[in-house]
């Protein structure tokens, strides 16, 4: 991608900050929901081969809970909130106050709760980003899947597929107690959105 021909380091820093601001707000929202501290790692910005993207959440066949939203507006893209099954169960326990399903048979209520969590987190991520950039960015209704990470994430890479075999994603890891990954936030702006993001933030493209 010719995105980083000029000012590559600076642009990466800016995108990292984009992730920082959005995910920071989302982490606060999650912390409020669960009534306990939620930390986040410094976001990473990666231009990764498609193959490597699912590795970030345990591999292509790893079963994950994913909430997907399409970002619409001035800088469209895809957004995933991905959690492994065990943290998802703990979140549900914390939120609903009863023992959530041990296996993969989530009840309607549990699925609905997970969907709503994704909705709240993505909403807070995007609204802070929209405020910061002055761009109009709105999430679609979220959709949830419990399935193989590869199958889920590949869907978010299609826009990049026509351009090459890599995609740029802003990845933020949520932590609980400084160790276990509570979840991943992936923001995958469409290739066309980068110029708009950079312009909005005053970065020479």
């Amino acid at each position: 991608m010719n995105l980083f021909r000029n000012n590559a380091d600076f642009k990466l820093d800016v995108l990292r900050e984009v992730g920082n601001i959005g995910a920071g707000n989302a982490a606060t929202a999650l912390s409020t929901l669960l009534n306990k501290p939620v930390d986040m790692a410094v976001p990473t910005v990666n231009l990764l081969p498609f193959e490597a993207i699912a590795e970030r959440v345990g591999g292509s066949e790893a079963v994950v809970v994913a909430i997907f939203l399409r970002v619409e507006g001035d800088a469209p893209g895809n957004m995933f909130f991905i959690i492994n099954r065990e943290p998802a169960r703990r979140i549900l326990q914390g939120l609903l106050g009863f023992n959530a399903a041990e296996n993969d048979d989530y009840s309607e209520l549990e699925l609905s709760a997970l969907n709503e969590i994704g909705n709240i987190l993505a909403g807070s991520y995007l609204s802070s980003l929209a405020d910061f950039t002055g761009l109009r960015m709105s999430p679609t209704v979220p959709s949830l899947a419990v399935d193989m990470a590869g199958a889920i994430l590949s869907y978010g890479l299609l826009q990049f597929g026509t351009m090459g075999d890599d995609a740029l994603l802003i990845d933020t890891t949520f932590l609980e107690g400084h160790q276990e990954a509570e979840g991943h936030f992936f923001l995958i702006p469409d290739p066309e959105s980068f110029e708009k993001l950079f312009r909005a933030l005053g970065v020479p493209f």
């Binding site: 193959e51 997907f68 209704v141 959709s143 899947a145 193989m148 199958a151 590949s154 299609l158 026509t162």
Partner: protein, 164 residues
């Protein structure tokens, strides 16, 4: 490439196998896992197709394994170079799911079914019969082709393993 060897086919990738080696591609969502098989040579080929048509490509260097219309001829060429005969080949495929079905509106959202349709069209061009398929739905699949038996197995989270 002998029995027990596993050959991984990545996303937007293709490969061939013989001598009992197994071709495998993981985590197919809207992508299509297409296999060609020559029972006489016990030679198999697999492509992990991501998009329906290379006409939409804006790549500098076209990855022909990625698009249905280019992956099928390429896989065929690779197999022929190993002695496969087009008239003997049979095709099987899986994938083409709609992982997120909530908004049917735009074309991108229908990419799974479009990948399936485009792959079928490409096979028809070479008169390669599609003998079985496990496509559609809203779930991910991992598929394997055994180059010795020609058995195509499909694993999913909800439905376990099945063979076609």
């Amino acid at each position: 490439m002998t029995e027990g060897t596993l050959i991984k086919v990545g996303m937007a990738d293709l490969n061939i196998a013989e001598g009992g080696a197994v071709l495998k591609t993981t985590g197919l969502g809207s992508c299509v896992g297409l296999t060609l098989y020559d029972p006489h040579l016990r030679l198999g080929g697999m492509a992990h197709i991501m998009l329906p048509s290379s006409e939409i490509a804006r790549e500098g260097q076209l990855n022909i394994a990625k698009y249905a219309d280019t992956a099928v001829p390429e896989l065929l060429t690779r197999m022929k170079s190993k002695g496969a005969v087009t008239a003997r080949l049979i095709a099987k495929m899986a994938g083409g799911a709609q992982m997120f079905a909530f908004m049917g509106g735009t074309d991108t959202m229908r990419i799974g079914p479009r990948n399936v349709e485009a792959t079928k069209q490409a096979l028809e061009l070479f008169s390669i019969p599609l003998v079985s398929e496990d496509t559609g739905g809203n779930y991910g699949r991992t598929v394997e082709l055994d180059s010795h038996s020609g058995v195509f197995s499909i694993r999913s989270v909800q439905f376990g393993v099945k063979e076609i």
